[in-house]
């Protein structure tokens, strides 16, 4: 916009020159001003170059009185860059020129006016750009935090598993181990004893073994979950789904699957089934759940017509992110029916520890 205004000014000067039938030397002024305009269009020129414009106009004032119209360009620049000091020579030199008309006044006034508007517009634009930058930055940071939180979630689940294992080991060592060692020592003593003392010792051995056994039962009982866990949960969800017929097949050893994966697989299945219920015209859903030595794979295929352009909701996007945080992937294919496949790898080094 700014450059259009500048080139229009050059055009105006040229038409003025044609109409007034001036001598050929003053044409140099127009070409020189055009060069400056082009330079400003291509490069960011420093503010002092405004002085060159002013100097050129002054230089040509004796040969072409209408050079004063050329002052519009430096006036515009100085207002646009808020360097008001450069307007002083223009104002001071105007009365020297022979042309002093209402047209000149209005012409210079519009130059200044456009300069101010240009300045305001530039300020607004810079403001918008910095605002957009800030928001983009904030969004990136949020994304990072989200990923970190997801990773932390996985780590916490692993830590919980390890600490639970430690607790069980400690329990077994402290209580059952203590009683069994005691019983074994008592049995050694029983072999050396006779009569009433032996009977007493035998009774103690029995007591210790009974106590150890019950302690062991209790510990094992603590370990056995009350609620459903693992593949059972997935099966339960599939069974509860009333909207369409659901086939659930599972294969492989489910014990290998890390605990933190279950919540992800569960939300994945729930999301897929919700999508079927809400958006699809499917009549059957086929769920395959396989665990191999290295990966666990959950695929949900429905027989709906599918859409050419599957719109991904935030649910699937979040699941993808979570799957990625766990080192796996989630892919969606809508070519024939809707197919969602979630593949998660086993981290061997952690599993073996």
């Amino acid at each position: 916009m700014r450059d259009v205004w500048r080139f229009m000014n050059i055009l105006f000067l040229f038409s003025l020159w044609v109409v007034q039938d001036e001598n050929i030397i003053s044409f140099l002024l127009i070409v020189s001003l055009a060069i400056l305009v082009c330079l400003r269009w291509r490069f960011q020129l420093p503010a002092w170059t405004i002085l060159i414009d002013i100097g050129l106009c002054i230089l040509f004032m004796p040969t072409w009185s209408n050079s004063v119209f050329g002052f519009a360009l430096p006036l515009f620049e100085s207002f646009s860059r808020q360097k008001y000091i450069y307007t002083i020579p223009i104002v001071a030199l105007l009365p020297i020129g022979e042309v002093f008309s209402v047209l000149l006044f209005w012409f210079l006034f519009q130059a200044g006016f456009f300069g101010v508007i240009d300045n305001q517009w530039k300020k607004q634009r810079d403001l918008y750009i910095s605002e957009a930058d800030r928001e983009r930055r904030a969004r990136y940071e949020l994304e990072n935090i989200k990923e970190e939180l997801l990773e932390a979630n996985c780590k916490t689940a692993q830590l919980a598993e390890v600490s639970e294992r430690n607790r069980i080991a400690r329990d077994l060592h402290d209580h059952v181990g203590h009683d069994l060692t005691g019983a074994s020592l008592a049995m050694d003593a029983y072999e050396q004893l006779e009569g009433k003392e032996a009977e007493e010792m035998f009774y103690q051995v029995r007591l210790r073994i009974a106590r150890g056994a019950s302690m062991l039962r209790d510990t094992v009982h603590d370990m056995t979950p009350v609620t459903k866990m693992g593949a059972d949960v997935l099966e339960h969800i599939a069974k509860e789904f009333q909207h369409t017929a659901v086939d659930f097949h599972k294969s492989g050893d489910m014990r290998n699957v890390p605990v933190q994966y279950w919540s992800l697989l569960e939300s994945c299945l729930k999301e897929a089934l919700t999508n079927v219920a809400r958006h699809s015209d499917a009549t059957n859903v086929d769920i395959q759940f396989d665990a191999t030595d290295t990966i666990v794979r959950l695929s949900i295929q429905d027989n709906g017509t599918g859409t050419a352009d599957p719109k991904e909701g935030s649910g699937l996007r979040n699941l993808k992110l979570r799957a990625r945080a766990a080192g796996g992937s989630l892919s969606v294919n809508a070519e024939s029916g809707h197919l969602i496949v979630c593949v998660l790898p086993f981290q061997k080094e952690e599993g073996s520890s």
């Binding site: 040229f14 140099l28 020189s32 055009a34 060069i35 269009w41």
Partner: protein, 228 residues
Amino acid sequence: MTIFTFALKRIFRDKSNLASLTLFPIAAIFLPANDNWPLLPYGYQFFGVLILFVAIRLTGLLIDDRQKGVVKRLAAAPVTHFQYLFQNLLAFSVIVIAQCILVIAGGVMYGNELYEPLWLLVLFLVFSFTAIAFTLAWNTLYRNKETSFLIFMAVIMIIAMLGGLILPVDMLPDTLEKIAVIFPTYWLAEGIEWVVLGENIGDFLLINGVLLLYALLFLIIGSIRRIG
């Protein structure tokens, strides 16, 4: 100076380029002279048009580069845009300089009446630079070499006509005569007139000054770093 030598090689590899760069200037030397107008033999009057043709052919290489993605690759190479432009323009300038010298020296040896051959050479050289800058700026407007070339053919005819290379400027209507000043060809025609009639040296400086200013103006416009 790899780009410089490569630009030269590219220009001379094309057989039609080679022909237009050598045959046409030589033909220009042998064109006859007329009594009233033009003041110089026809070949020299029209040599300005020839320079414009040559310039558009030469700078067309830069559009080629843009079309083939060379500019895009250059943007990733350790070569600045300035170096690329400068070395290419230098190669083009070397060619037109050689051509101008050939035409003037050939004319003098053949026995054409050139009045002031040295001033004429200076004029043609300055005009060549302007022509190269002008075609460079022209080419930045186009994405396709053929379109740019074809439209420029028509433009050359118009500016040569209005500028007074094909017809005397005096034959044009007053307004057109005034507007003709913006075309570089007008200044070339003025320069030729000065060489023949030889008045004030200041006028000749003014003419060359305007042509150089035009060269600068078009160079600034033509230096846009457009990646195709």
